[in-house]
């Protein structure tokens, strides 16, 4: 029989995590066993026909090899509905999906760049490869940073955290790309940086430009609207520099930033 990606997962824990996020822990041993950093899941948020489609969420952690953890921000109808799900209920879940982040070279220094609600896959990444990594995290103001518990984990797992807020309420005043640029201008001695970025597309485009300027490898995790998450609907395609399209759910969500046609239209007009 086929290796099954379809799971009925029991909700083990579900509660507000602060700063507008919810933390959701789902029992799904098969999925947990196969999940790598950068993978995502498609979660059905309703048992009825509206909203119809499942929602994509990055895996932020695997717990005790049997459960996965998600962090989500309430963004619209689907996530609002999700907040009402009580522990003990089961949810339909598809995953792990996508290609995941490439494993960093032992000698490399991963620079994790998280903007907006892009931290979940990087949180998972940090649990595996955090010791060698630096985190660059940015948001509008300090209230929009990832939840405090997440920041604590990220701080303890990585060698350094570089904050940036647009209003200067935490760390440097400006964009996360400014602190990243400052670092890249004078990297710490002996570090050979590789960028792993997840966040809004405008940020990813800037990060990608910086990486190109400094000729360092850069992997970006993209978002696009999804229907199937499986690579069959061709709905989540993004433009490639080489012409044509690739599917975020299948060839992505992680791409070498040089592949992406950033010049095209906004890749995703978010939300409603």
């Amino acid at each position: 029989m086929p290796s099954n990606k379809l799971h009925r997962a029991k909700v083990l824990l579900h509660r507000p995590a602060g700063r507008g996020y919810y933390r959701l822990v789902l029992l799904a041993p098969g999925l947990a066993a196969a999940a790598a950093p950068g993978h995502f899941v498609m979660l059905r948020v309703s048992a009825n026909l509206d909203p119809l489609l499942a929602r994509p969420f990055g895996i932020s952690s695997v717990i005790a090899k049997r459960s996965i953890e998600l962090y989500y921000r309430v963004a619209g109808r689907g996530t609002t509905l999700l907040t009402a799900v009580e522990p003990g209920r089961t949810l339909d879940l598809l995953g792990p999906l996508g290609n995941g982040f490439p494993v960093p070279d032992r000698a490399a220094t991963p620079l994790l760049v998280a903007g907006g609600s892009g931290f979940p896959p990087l949180l998972y990444f940090s649990s595996r490869y955090g010791k060698q990594a630096r985190l660059f995290v940015g948001s509008r103001d300090k209230e929009c940073l990832p939840p405090a518990a997440v920041m604590k984990d990220l701080r303890s797992r990585t060698k350094a955290v570089h904050y940036a807020t647009e209003d200067g309420s935490r760390g440097a005043c400006g964009f996360v790309t400014d602190t990243l640029a400052a670092y890249l201008a004078r990297p710490a001695a002996g570090e050979s940086p590789v960028i792993y970025a997840c966040g809004p597309n405008a940020m990813l485009a800037s990060v990608s430009r910086l990486a190109a300027e400094h000729s360092i490898p850069c992997y970006v995790s993209l978002e696009e609207r999804m229907a199937c998450g499986l690579g069959v609907c061709m709905g989540c395609s993004v433009s490639m520099k080489s012409g044509g399209y690739k599917r975020v759910c299948k060839e992505g969500p992680v791409f070498d930033s040089r592949e992406i046609d950033w010049g095209g239209k906004t890749i995703l007009q978010v939300g409603r």
């Binding site: 029989m1 086929p2 290796s3 099954n4 990606k5 379809l6 059905r44 026909l49 509206d50 909203p51 119809l52 489609l53 499942a54 339909d92 598809l94 696009e224 609207r225 999804m226 229907a227 199937c228 998450g229 499986l230 690579g231 069959v232 609907c233 061709m234 709905g235 989540c236 395609s237 993004v238 433009s239 012409g243 044509g244 399209y245 299948k250 095209g264 239209k265 890749i267 995703l268 007009q269 409603r272």
Partner: protein, 311 residues
């Protein structure tokens, strides 16, 4: 002495000469070429697969965003992205041949010659059970005429495809027409062996903040349970109008939905958008259909085709 044991009901169907072990197919464009689903469900249990639309040359498709969720439905404007018939035959069909299921190849083109070209390439290819001719994609235009909404263009196209192949030819009709029965009759007159209906309804959604359409292509095709009542009605009308076997589709999520189409006159059904929402939908539908027949004491699903009572 008649046995009292409950016998397994017969789900098999002969569709335009194609033997299906059950009447449940996957709708074109919602199941790829089967590979992705092989990880999730046992493809051998399906009645058959209708593959994503294939053209003579590769097509890159429309710019993103390509999809948008709507109430109980979705809009798509994929733009018929596909690798072309040669790559299909080389890379995709061999995989499907590992399974004992019918394979219907959905074909389309930008002009009559394109259609004929693909049909010729597929003629006599082992593993291809039949052609589903998509004359209904809102994006396929021929000199301003959409094949699926012009009776004369549809007739010429379908006649030409008919001549180009010995395979069963199934015309996939557009629901964006005043009178579906006129297109059903035209397809019959052009020599088609069966009909598929419905394709998506043409729709549009607008982001009121950016004032832009939600789809880069502006309009797109509406699918999903939202359109089911329209689809059932059209299948019912077409079944009354012509004596061809029909593949009914449009918003099928459950075995009950599938049986609605069968009662309306479809000999087989195709499951589309439901594959995204529940990748096991096809198998759940087959199981539910079998249980229903047992429960109602019906020996074969064929007994239900067109049996709606409109006294």
């Amino acid at each position: 002495m008649p046995s009292k044991k409950k016998t397994k009901p017969d789900l098999s169907v002969d569709f335009a000469g194609i033997r299906l072990k059950n009447p449940v197919l996957t709708a074109s464009g919602t199941f790829g070429y089967g590979e992705e689903f092989a990880d999730i469900i046992d493809l051998n249990r399906l009645g058959g697969v209708i593959v994503k639309g294939i053209s003579l040359k590769p097509i890159t498709g429309n710019p993103p965003p390509r999809i948008w969720e709507t109430p109980s439905g979705m809009l798509n404007a994929i733009g018929l992205e596909n690798p072309g018939v040669d790559v299909f035959l080389r890379d995709k069909l061999p995989f499907l041949r590992n399974y004992d299921i019918a394979v219907l190849v959905n074909i389309f083109g930008y002009c009559l010659e394109d259609y004929v070209g693909v049909a010729e390439r597929l003629d006599g290819v082992p593993g291809v059970s039949g052609l589903e001719v998509n004359i209904s994609c809102p994006n396929v235009k021929a000199g301003g005429i959409v094949f699926g909404t012009d009776l004369k263009a549809a007739f010429e196209l379908l006649s030409a495809v008919r001549k180009a192949t010995r395979l069963p030819v199934i015309a996939k009709l557009s629901p964006n027409v005043t009178d579906i029965t006129a297109f059903a009759r035209t397809a019959r007159d052009a020599g088609c062996d069966g009909l598929s209906l419905i394709n998506t309804l043409l729709g549009m959604a607008i982001d009121i903040r950016s004032r832009r359409p939600r789809l880069a292509n502006c309009t797109g095709g509406l699918s999903g349970p939202a359109i089911r009542p329209v689809a059932v009605r059209m299948v019912w009308q077409a079944a009354k109008a012509v004596d061809l076997p029909l593949i009914g589709m449009g918003g099928i999520m459950t075995h009950e939905d599938a049986l609605e189409f069968i009662l309306a006159g479809a000999s087989a059904v195709a499951v589309g958008t439901a594959n995204f929402v529940n990748p096991r939908a096809t198998l759940d539908i087959i199981g539910g259909m079998e249980a229903f027949l047992v429960q109602e004491g019906i020996g074969s699903v064929r007994e239900l085709v067109g049996k709606v009572c409109v006294a």
